[in-house]
Amino acid sequence: MEEHKHNDLSDSENSEIKGWYRKLVSAWIFTIPLVIIMFFGRIFNIELLPERLMTPIILIIAFPVIFIFGWSTIKSGIRGLISFYFSMDSLIALGTIIAYLTGIASLFFKIQDYSGISAMIMAIFITGKYIEARARGKATSEIMKLLQLGAKKARVLRGKKEIEIPIRDLKIGDLMIIKPGEKIPTDGVVVKGESAVDESMVTGESMPVDKKKGSPVIGATINQDGILYVKATKIGSDTFLAHIIQLVESAQSEKIPIQKLADKITGIFVPIILILALLAGVNWFFFTHDISLSIGVAVAVLVIACPCSLGLAVPIVIMVSSGMGAKHGILIRKGEAIQTIKEIKYVVFDKTGTITKGKPEVSDIYSLVPEKDLLKIAASLEKLSEHPIALAIVKKAQLKEYKRVTGFKISRGRGLEGIIGKKKIVIGNATLMKERRIPLVKIANKIREFESNGKTTLVISENGKAIGTIAVADSIKEDSINAIGKLNAQDYNTVMITGDNELTAKEIAKQVGISEVIANVLPEDKAKKVEELQKTGMVAFVGDGINDAPALKQSNVSIAMGTGTDIAIEAGDIVLANGSLTGVVQAINLSKVTFRKIKQNLFWAFGYNIVAIPLAVAGVLHPVIAELAMAFSSISVVTNANLLRRKKI
């Protein structure tokens, strides 16, 4: 269903371009001879037609240009005038009809015949629309590609038979078979087979990702070299791709603050021009008593005004920028972020899952009791928690059987407690041990040693006595160092915020090049720390979007990692589909160039109208020149937006 709708959109885009093209060709077939008879006579003094036949013939040739090829414009323009919902078409319709009527009037009165001019105006208008529609098609092409990325068919195993079904008939739990070179139909988990998968179209990650049994795969990515058997886990609007599309689409109707003025003006622009044209005409007639000149001025004012360049200036840039971003896995949700990002002073990173991989592993164990016993106690308790560190310990212990735990309690950000047998077990960081008055004398040196290597430690205690410590290391993402280096070079203050102790945190920060560390922060206090930083400058917060939500909300620009196959839609102003910190640098750069382009476009659009309209009112612009200028201005805004694509991010 979803998909069907999207195809319609690009089809209608194409048919719009084709439609304008047909009108363009037909209009000029009539208009070119018109120009020849009108101007040759004057310039070369060759009389192609007898004078008294001139006007009727021009009227006949101009008629189809305006009322047949330009009919859709005339119709919508007149409807606008009647219903008081004026649009661009109203201006063109009024301008051309008035000009055409002068031709009829000139048969009876002495008045200049503008009917040939009116055909030229319409032909130029149609040409301008055609060029604009094409440029707009180019501007939207990346988004359209994204919308059409989804697979159309899936090959599934039903019973023992392989059958091909349309994607909409796919159900959760279906076993899909994907051959090399084929698109993975929907999100799922590999149950059999090994292969590399190209995920660049949805995450921007250019290297193929290896998949084996148990690996999650993303719909619309392309299987490279092996056959994969994948169980579908998400379908329709729940898939990763559907979420990305939803993000990109909703960004198109987001208004950014700088756009407000342009939008307001666009809304009242046409009525103002109608009044202005009337006033200009009346005024000129009052001073010159020349009805022909006055009509010429009024028509020029009508056709020179260009609400399109104003109204399109911002959205067309956002469109191109969203497309560029999506290609790199950068999804800008809130247009406002584009404007705010250049004011940012601090870039604050959450540590786990953002700078590091977020998949900690047990690296060292120091035990005062047999190591096996220590692990057994620890794993039995940690089994009940879902914290990444807990998972690491459970994985390390590889127990077949767990001990029974009663009175289980979690102290958020500090550790766990419970009773095994008759022994009271407390597992957690130094803060928790201090709270429970558990001395660490015998293991203190080991803890310091582990922590100064950037590892997170936890202490296991039994009946108030420490019996060992386990160190967990979370490796740094490959590109974290590079990305943070780039941000430092651009004079951002990079800050790392973490629940880890100071020693561990400082070591990790040193490794990636972050100078400022805020350690020992409970998850719920992260937002407060962001608020403190905001007293001295705007803050961008980079987090993984799951437990960082309050801090993301508090920050001026929130950048959320939409890692893997899950994507937290509500989490950030900007979402990075591939969870790499390089995306932060790219997102900042993209926002900056986008905002610059927006300002440029608004400057041209405003500047054009501010200069051109008074010139038309002053009577120095011939209506044809006025229409040419108008067409040029709306084309230039779209073309300028397309130039954004040349920027490297």
């Binding site: 709708k5 606008g80 219903s83 909703s250 666009t266 109204g311």
Partner: protein, 70 residues
């Protein structure tokens, strides 16, 4: 609060979009309207009393057509 996503046919310039927005805002109970000419679609947020037919009518008043609404 209810939210409608609509697809609109026929808009081809920025003032068209502004017109559709203006007309939709006049519908009683409508709080937020956003129309994208480029995507040919829009979103309407409003009280539960806002009916799909009212939205369709508001759009057609400006000379454009709602092709889908949900």
């Amino acid at each position: 609060m209810k939210k409608y996503n609509i697809s609109i046919d026929g808009m081809h310039c920025a003032s068209c979009g502004a017109n559709v927005e203006r007309s939709l805002k006049k519908v009683q109970g409508v709080k937020n309207v956003s129309v994208s000419v480029l995507m040919k679609r829009g979103t309407v947020e409003g009280e539960d009393s806002v009916k799909a037919d009212q939205i369709k009518e508001a759009v057609s008043k400006t000379g454009y057509k709602v092709t889908s609404i949900n």
